[in-house]
Symmetry: C2
Subunit: 309 residues, 2 copies
Amino acid sequence: MAECSRCGRSGEALYKLTNLPGLICKDCFITYYEKKVKNCVIKYEMLRGVKNIGVAVSGGKDSMALARVLSRLFPDIHLKLIHINLGIPSYSNECQKIVEKFADENSIDLIIYNIRELEGYSIDSFSKLPYVKRMCGVCGIVKRYLMNKIAYENRLDALATGHNLDDTVETLFKSYLKGDIEEIVRIRPLLPSTHPKLVKKIKPLIEMTERENLLYVTLTNTMHVDVKCPFFKDSRMMKRKKLISMLEEEIKNFKYIFFKSHLKKIQPVLSKVIVEPALRECKVCGMPTIKDVCSYCKITSKMVTVVER
Amino acid sequence: MAECSRCGRSGEALYKLTNLPGLICKDCFITYYEKKVKNCVIKYEMLRGVKNIGVAVSGGKDSMALARVLSRLFPDIHLKLIHINLGIPSYSNECQKIVEKFADENSIDLIIYNIRELEGYSIDSFSKLPYVKRMCGVCGIVKRYLMNKIAYENRLDALATGHNLDDTVETLFKSYLKGDIEEIVRIRPLLPSTHPKLVKKIKPLIEMTERENLLYVTLTNTMHVDVKCPFFKDSRMMKRKKLISMLEEEIKNFKYIFFKSHLKKIQPVLSKVIVEPALRECKVCGMPTIKDVCSYCKITSKMVTVVER
């Protein structure tokens, strides 16, 4: 009978992860997962000087794993879950319900930001605009902007997001292939605050794979949304993720090795030359930007114009 | 009936290349190939100030394509083929015969350097040493050293090698994955002379694929060795080449895009920070090296020790 490669017990359900040797039981997996996240947070000094963290939660497996693991690992740090209701029919309300239930059951503070009510539009509105073909890009701008704004207005010391190793390596692969140096330099576990209105960003799950996050939420019975966003169809991103999985099958630990080589060897050298552009305040909203008007004000102003016609 | 996508003629044998749209006939392929190599040589200013070139010829498809195309494109430049007979039984003499026949038929100067006769050992000798597992690496050291020495002693302005796009991308992939910055910075079409005894290196075929070189030697009836070296078994390199071919199938022009992003965007930034180590003269042989004793003297001295025992 098969035994757990860590504790040696048999008679338990066992799980196989490509980046772990042998099979592992539920308890050992949870211990392994939490220890690995803790090491990552400590190694990159993500919580240095941090007393309260905003946790960006969509309701998906990665962000729910993040909320769960941070609440278990750092009971002394004050967590505030931040959920943006994007106003996407038959999707956004499902996501909100899950997040609310989790916050309630675990007695964690939760901010719900409903963009239809508070901003007067929804992500849907963009689907009628020239942005229809890059909905994920537009939604990313909206979420990044609002998450930072909410964290800033709530005086949070840091904003944690659920970016995993697969996301990171997909972005690395795309950026190196394009030679997008500015993007390459920004791929790291911690983005410090470089402007009074820009909250520090941390990625505690940056070394965890998608599969590990899924297994963690499953084995800890952490509720999460299983439905994909109806607008999600970035076939290029999915194609790159599939190619990366294929590389991982052929080259043991490909994702982790690529990430580590980037972070330890290439990024530090590039960052000596690439000067990050200075931030100023957006002429429209006053939030930090590298241009006169920030991307958020730019895309939402175009939408209003169309809606008003 | 199928037509050539360039000249429109039908009734000819047609060829398909993954990086070219449509099918192409023999004459159009040769024109395309030669034009592309010429553009590459001009673009990277490989022949600036060059009156005579050494062409490193092993007898394989890439180096024979190189000798053929350079002799056709630049009739005013004096070519000197350089062939090193590595003393590998049932292989090296075959290679030499092919090169001699080509030089003779095309009236091109040829230097044959027989290491068994001139250096007193053969590549074979290394197979009895601790180097047995990295024969290709050792052979690379021997060839790089001797090719440079021969080019220097013959007062050649440049040494051309048959490195193709597939070789280059394989090296890029390996180096980026390892984060080997010193190696990454060196991957470029032209390595200038940075020491009086170091001859400028040029790679005129760096944008041509293996398949294009093979088709070129085939369609121009250029003789070339078809046998693999008996020591060749770098399974990791072959595996990476297969993975890269697979990526090329999924991402159109992957090899060329990766190479160009490296060369135009990443390499120039890294090279601002990475200072290439200063060259001095080897204490044993006087040829340029970054250490006290050059790699060639180091590996050959070990061999002699073993042989003398």
